[in-house]
Symmetry: C2
Amino acid sequence: MKKSSSSSVMQWKLNTGLHLLEKTMQHVYVSYTSLGENEQHGIRHAGEKNTQEKIIISNERPWKPWQTARSQITGCVRHVQTAMVSLAGLEWYCYAALGVLTALMSFCMDLTIAKLLRAHQWLYDCLEGKILLQFLCWTLYPTCLCALSTSFSHSICPQSTGSGLPEIRTILSGVQLPDYLSLSNLFAKLIGLISTLSAGSTVFLGKVGPFVHLSNIVGAYLYRLYASACGEKQRRTQGEMLVVASAVGVASCFGAPISGVLFSIEVMGSHYSVQDYCPCFFAAVCGSLTYRLLSVCSREQETVQAVFKTRFPSEIPYQPPEILIFAFLGLLCGAISCIYLYSHRWILRFVRTNKFISRFMATEKTLYSATVAFLLASVTFPHTGGSFMASRLSMKQLLSSLLDSTQWNLISHNATLAQESPHSFWQEWSPPGYSVYHTLGCFILIKLWLLVLACTLPLPAGYFMPVFIYGAALGRLLGEGLAYLFPDGISSGERLSVINPGGYALVGAAAFAGAVTHTLSPALCALELTGQSTHVVPILTATLISNVLARSRHQPSFYDGISLIKKLPHLPSLIRACPKLSSVQIRQFVVPVGAVLQQAEGVMGVQHIMNSSKENEFPVVDTHDSLTLLGTITRAQLQTFLLSNQSEDLCKSLEDECSIQPVKLQLSTDATVKQAHCIMSVLREQCVFVTEKGKLCGVITWKEMKNMIEELTKEI
Amino acid sequence: MKKSSSSSVMQWKLNTGLHLLEKTMQHVYVSYTSLGENEQHGIRHAGEKNTQEKIIISNERPWKPWQTARSQITGCVRHVQTAMVSLAGLEWYCYAALGVLTALMSFCMDLTIAKLLRAHQWLYDCLEGKILLQFLCWTLYPTCLCALSTSFSHSICPQSTGSGLPEIRTILSGVQLPDYLSLSNLFAKLIGLISTLSAGSTVFLGKVGPFVHLSNIVGAYLYRLYASACGEKQRRTQGEMLVVASAVGVASCFGAPISGVLFSIEVMGSHYSVQDYCPCFFAAVCGSLTYRLLSVCSREQETVQAVFKTRFPSEIPYQPPEILIFAFLGLLCGAISCIYLYSHRWILRFVRTNKFISRFMATEKTLYSATVAFLLASVTFPHTGGSFMASRLSMKQLLSSLLDSTQWNLISHNATLAQESPHSFWQEWSPPGYSVYHTLGCFILIKLWLLVLACTLPLPAGYFMPVFIYGAALGRLLGEGLAYLFPDGISSGERLSVINPGGYALVGAAAFAGAVTHTLSPALCALELTGQSTHVVPILTATLISNVLARSRHQPSFYDGISLIKKLPHLPSLIRACPKLSSVQIRQFVVPVGAVLQQAEGVMGVQHIMNSSKENEFPVVDTHDSLTLLGTITRAQLQTFLLSNQSEDLCKSLEDECSIQPVKLQLSTDATVKQAHCIMSVLREQCVFVTEKGKLCGVITWKEMKNMIEELTKEI
């Protein structure tokens, strides 16, 4: 008890410290940005002056040696700096930094998790023979880690739980959710995710989703740096940086740049700006190159190559008739994904609506996590049910074993082949007395429900990798079944080729993951993870077929489902779930503009409006009666107007002195919410005026857009 | 002389026949679409009725056997039809048809070209020993084919020359260029392209660009079918079908679906609609699967696999330090691409501005083609300069040979290795007495200028494949050079690995093609063509680096350059060439609306306006003085209004009887051309009204947009 209370005190302290740090950073940033441009310029100049002075001082310091050499070096560095900026804009260095930082984070995380997993394995092996102790070791280790993950992430930043991808999609669609891009979220998610993944394949959760979230937070912080360094000259928006960060997240998680870029296209709601395409590729390549080079440096791999490298025969990887079987596998994966998605939505809704569980979850999240983790671990204990599910293998080992190209059925009956096999993982899949079909069947039947249960855990975790592995098991079972039916292989012409169950596993993985997420990038991911593109056509075919089945009848995808249940203001998922919402007009949501200036407004009127409103921009109409929109005027312009007219007579009006900025675009009240959203996100407009027959009716900012979408969510 | 005149008469007849066919089809289509909805409905109903009657009649015909069985089958077919439509929308069948048709076309084209090339080869080999005859055979064959291609394409459809990609990009950006999507263009381009490509590697031209154009024409025709079948219910626009067709074009040209999809993203000007992503993938997979299955059926390949399959070692494909050399190769490719692009633009401008050549080109296109083809063939004659350029190899053999993973330098000194080598192509690269370095160097030095010259040929031809092969030669030279410097290979740890010049060739090909076209999809194309993804990281790195160099200082890409010289109304390439154009406002281009109705317009006014204008939609304002825009009204509504008021008194006004459709979006005259273009293409609007302070100033349709962009072209 004492220990836990002291740990909670420490957590509290850490939490407060982090919050303070972040607040201070925000404060400095806000006070800097709230300064006028001239003042900012002044500060920057002062900074430059300071460094110049320092250089002069350092040059004058007689005790430092090689003064000329050092000044030459300083000159060179400056030249390099100028050359770098002239070579490419500052944003490109930010993209590179984003890639490298995220890859570093990914690599360090992998290293830590691997060490923690090995520790568990070592402890478990040490207790060989003492089944009770082994049981305790097997169950308490993941239980403690899950409890730690939950309590840590909840005490530091409650928004850090879950995958984070639905929220990132919402942010990318233009709506602000500031809590999800904070530094405390990064910290909580990072530590929480390490704890979750160290619990191993017992809990059966992944890394990708949270990692995309993490890379988005890093991207948002880098963007702040970029914006403050560029000032007015900045050419990129935060949205662009976040799109790039999404690509980087996937790329540095697996060292798979192309699927990262495709993911960044899919994650966008309606339109992908082609301008972001090159930055996405660039940052994704930086990230995946760093990630792969790091694993070469750490001697994990001999050279830069795929993470789950396969050795499929490249001469005849499959016979043309097998494409039909791959297509059937796609259908199967699509059907099972529907069951999975339905159960997932059901359990999420049950957890939220069941009185007992929801109350328990609200107060005792840590206890809930611990209970569920204990349950999951008990089921997968190797001496009981676990032996039928290959539960001793870690997530990585599970995938590697499933992608093995040799037929397990053949190995288990052939001692020489068994010795030659590169991995001994397959032995886990055929425990004494049982065939691989039993274990694969058990795995498929039981893991689905365990995964659905694990999805309710309130801790930072990804759901892509488990789904990918589950699909691989489905494919493997089909492949092994075919290998049993056709032990001599299939021939379609002169040559006979044996069935490669690993290929089926790969196709199944891509198809199932694609169906669950309603995306096609898992197909590319499967190719890049294995480093072989022999199966590109079957993978794409199966993924397309499974997607068709999963998307039929407007069923929401995994992330859409979470968005809907969490009632996130994400318009595309709302419209996918309920297509008739796309015709809802903005008429019913338009809020009248608070402060409107008329063309002939005098000093008194301007003063009054500036006092009554805190907006930075005000619409100007010709008269308050006709309300014909003329344009906008900024607060700064109004302040200048007031200052210049303070001493003079009060009869001067606004139109005499200020230039009114014309409004480029007006929407009518008949435009739909979807159109307004599309225009604002594509043109990256911050505010759009709504007029009816020339009269100003209202204004839509992203805040109003968020309210509109939240109103729409209630209609489902 | 007689022969040529009779052939020209035949061409003329064919030409006229095709034009007639197309005109008739257009006429039928136009007259169908010009009918009112009810009448169309009537025709469709009549059609249904007819078939029903026929069925009844056929059922009554006593001499036809198995009546019940046949009616059961008919019932089954109907059930299948209903099930198919309920399974997926009609558009998906169109996408599949597009993929299959394009792949069929591609395969048949390849087959014909291969036969024609083999015929030339056979004739040349038959004349062994008679150098003069061989020279004539070598030069006259491509000369005749090029002359045929030019005269054929020019007499049938002058718009069919060139690659067609710049025009497709323009069409995809929303501007209509109807001549480029006509059936006669398809026919002329298809036959012209077959003739051009049958001229072989002498003329050194490719297939991709024109093939994308062909697939777009097929897509446009399929879209017409789809639109007429769906009627009002259609959910897709022609633009979407054309984006899909672009993806299919690349996918069925090489059997490379993923690079097809990436190409379709890059070919879009500013925004890619995520809605098109799945259709693109689906159609691309259909196309590439058909293409690959056809080559399996024709026994060209044993199973579904890559077109230019490589056998790179997969254990250690390259050592990590080699990434730096790959990056250097990217730099080299970028630099040489700048030279190539500059010369290409220079020669295009020279051909257009030089008085003699432009006059010659205007009148004697065929002669010009024949002359240039003869010149190219003379230079590459194997007994003179051709032996230093491996000119006996066809385009496919050139690429296959360059991607070979064995070191040529090693083979040429080792007789046993030479016998083991799978291809004998390498022998072409090392003629007796000369090393491979000589031939590769010659190839690189001379082919660049020959390619630049070939680009001026006025015939249907692609420019991607030659650039790809040229880049492969660049990479190969670097690879062979490294193999000479490090004969034992490079080591970075425990293991030593020999240099693989094929890998360098692949990286060079992707990097050079990427730099010339300013795209990244060649990187994916390289991976899919070879079917190996061992070199994914170096390929992407080098392509990115070469792109950076090629794009620096706003240099136009290959297609941008053609767009600019041809003065095509393609806004994105204009803005890339001259970024300050992005801030040009629509103010100076807005044309006032011709026919405006006022709210209280009477029968006489409506009658007058309907007679004076041919528009289908008219804007309605409150009064002609204030010009406040209220909405629009269609011609059909006005006709109903006139009909209902013909007999009654004339004092009824428009507002009493017609419902005015509100305008959802208004632009101000201060909006930029870029913004207007972006809004119209993203929202797929056909017309946008321009207002200033509530007053209607003008209207922008795609016709006006085209004029605006053409005006902007003059400013460069």
